[in-house]
């Protein structure tokens, strides 16, 4: 190692010298970078990589190593906590046949897709409204206000919605007010058929501002000429929406939908706090299922195997997003 470093220093010194010279004598500039010698290339590589190395090292220590551990643990039997025994694929074959696991998969799917769809609809509606030619002060204030739900922590969201979904809470009171007497008796969070729906509402409330913001930013980049041309052709609001707006913001919708998919799929806090997976497992999602096995039953092997399953599903479903992002990369 000693020699290359010495050479690099020498090179650097001499090139600094040349650089100093080229400042005053611009015509010498071409000689500044001598034809790419190996040492020079290596030095450049190290300079470039030194910017990302600290972050990447930290990230690999903080995520890569734990991932490796989880994979390893998923092949062990933790019945005897102190001495886990290698168990092959036993953990995997156990959860595959557990009906509660498939119940969690089903709930996760419902939770995720409904949240993303509702969130996109609400976010898009607000984005379209805010994109109308309204007073810019008014728009600014409204956009800021509508970001508030996104800033609140999931514990706060859980607390607020548990209060509002209380049988004697605001939601039932309002439902009664508009004449829905029968529905207004519902104990939303302790009823098997409504609990998941109630949690989804809370989740959408917290998630929509991000989508609104992204879609709005994207809407503002659409050229006005397109709309003027459509106006001349006599297109109505919905025609403009379908033929101009949506095609123009298709990519951002896709990106936001994937991000939301990822965030909702692995979401934990709201379900855990609002229902704890109940009543009768009707809101059990994959992350609460894993949590239960890891920190209640302390069956780390089984929990790891299910967590790996989650990660695989997630990566497979969003693989096209990863590929699209990578393709944009200048390698």
């Amino acid at each position: 190692m000693q020699r290359p470093i010495g050479m690099q220093r020498l090179k650097k010194l001499s090139s600094d010298g040349v650089r100093g010279l080229t400042k005053s004598l611009p015509f010498l500039k071409n000689k500044e970078e001598p034809a790419g010698t190996k040492a020079k290339n290596l030095q450049q590589f190290f300079v470039k990589v030194s910017f990302i190395m600290p972050a990447m090292t930290l990230l690999i220590l903080l995520t890569g190593y734990p991932l490796f551990q989880v994979i390893q643990m998923s092949f062990y039997d933790y019945t005897d906590k102190a001495n886990p025994v290698f168990a092959g694929l036993a953990n995997y074959s156990h959860f595959i046949v557990d009906p509660l696991f498939w119940n969690a998969v089903k709930n996760t799917a419902i939770f995720t897709f409904t949240s993303v769809l509702l969130g996109l609809t609400v976010g898009m509606t607000f984005a379209l409204l805010l994109n109308q030619p309204i007073n810019s002060k008014f728009r600014g204030v409204f956009r800021a206000l509508l970001m508030f739900p996104w800033l609140t922590s999931s514990t706060v969201v859980a607390a607020i919605f548990m209060l509002m979904f209380n049988p004697f809470g605001l939601i039932n009171y309002l439902l009664k007010g508009i004449g829905l007497e029968t529905i207004s008796q519902t104990a939303w969070l302790s009823n098997e058929t409504t609990a998941l729906f109630a949690v989804i509402i809370a989740n959408v409330w917290r998630g929509f501002p991000f989508m609104m913001l992204m879609i709005l930013a994207s809407l503002q980049t659409i050229s006005h000429d397109l709309y003027e041309a459509a106006d001349i052709d006599g297109a109505g609001f919905f025609q403009k929406l379908i033929y101009i707006t949506i095609p123009q913001i298709k990519n951002i919708i896709l990106t936001v939908a994937v991000l939301e998919f990822i965030w909702n799929f692995r979401s934990f806090d709201l379900v855990f706090l609002m229902t704890g997976g109940g009543p009768v497992n009707s809101t059990e999602i994959l992350s609460t299922y894993v949590y239960h096995y890891a920190f209640r039953t302390l069956d780390f092997g089984y929990a790891s195997a299910t967590a790996i399953f989650m990660l695989i599903i997630m990566v497979v479903i969003s693989s096209f997003y990863i590929r699209a992002t990578i393709r944009k990369e200048r390698a």
Binding site: L59, T155, A159, M214, S318, T325
Partner: protein, 273 residues
């Protein structure tokens, strides 16, 4: 302003906006009433008797106050660590081509998909083994693991919007890459740094799962746990719970309002072309 005045737009915004903001309004409204008034029918939209009772209850609880300090210590530390590493990495990823770059970016993207419950298992085992259970350090490490990937991508996206000509000019003037970064790129990156910093702060301030698994005492637990415990323990004190929720959300809302412009600009920099 073109065409006819947008009366329908204003009306729709006001109606839908009120519905969307109702939960926040309700939180504030309940936090200013006595606990007996929380469910007293008919519900009134504003407190009938304004009282600071709930806030007094929160302020007199020394344990809850301690949680606030913990949250600040943890969230600010995570923000500092992430900004430091992410700014450097963001510059590297935005400006240079090198071997392994695609692999590195793919890795960062995949880490963003890690389910928290997946990471929390090995973290729990590791942290207890090395004796860091119930420490600030444990939470700072854990939060960095999921905040750093986002921070790197945000900084990279932001720095990419800074014209490359600046780098070239600096190079011609004889700046090395490190001087270019510190003197030429960092100053115009300020909005990006603010956006990334605020985002990281929000993520760390709001985290719940790691906090409940890796800590067990008031001396290090963050505020989210305090709220979570109030939910679990005595659900009857709704006014205190709402007051605490209000106080927990206020810092983020204030920070957001102050740096809104930069924050929105930084958040949307990468994804909107």
């Amino acid at each position: 302003m073109t065409g006819r005045p947008q009366y329908t737009t204003y009306a729709a915004l006001l109606v839908l906006g009120s519905i969307a903001l109702l939960p926040i309004f309700w939180m504030i409204s309940v936090s200013f009433r006595a606990n007996t008034e929380v469910f007293s029918m008919p519900l009134s939209i504003l407190p009938q008797n304004w009282t600071l009772e709930a806030f007094e209850k929160v302020f007199q609880n020394a344990e809850l106050m301690r949680l606030f300090i913990n949250s600040y210590v943890i969230a600010l530390s995570v923000t500092f660590v992430c900004l430091l590493f992410a700014a450097l990495a963001g510059y590297g990823f935005s400006r240079f081509k090198f071997k392994g770059k695609r692999t590195a970016i793919t890795y960062i993207l995949i880490t963003q998909m890690f389910p928290m419950v997946l990471l929390v298992i090995p973290y729990f085992l590791f942290i207890t083994r090395v004796g860091l259970y119930n420490s600030y350090f444990a939470l700072i490490l854990a939060y960095t693991s999921f905040a750093l990937p986002f921070s790197i991508m945000m900084m990279r996206d932001f720095i990419t919007t800074i014209p490359y000509e600046l780098d070239e000019a600096a190079k011609i003037d004889g700046c090395g890459p490190f001087r270019t970064f510190f003197h030429i790129i960092l100053p115009p990156s300020l909005p990006g740094l603010i956006a990334t910093g605020v985002y990281t702060f929000i993520l760390a301030w709001n985290e719940f799962l790691f906090a409940i698994v890796l800590t067990n005492s008031v001396s290090v637990r963050p505020l989210t746990i305090g709220i979570g415990m109030l939910i679990g323990e005595f659900t009857t004190e709704w006014n205190a719970l709402m007051a605490l929720s209000f106080m927990a959300s206020a810092p983020l809302i204030v920070v957001f309002l102050f740096v809104q412009k930069y924050f929105l600009q930084g958040l949307t920099a990468g994804s909107v072309k």
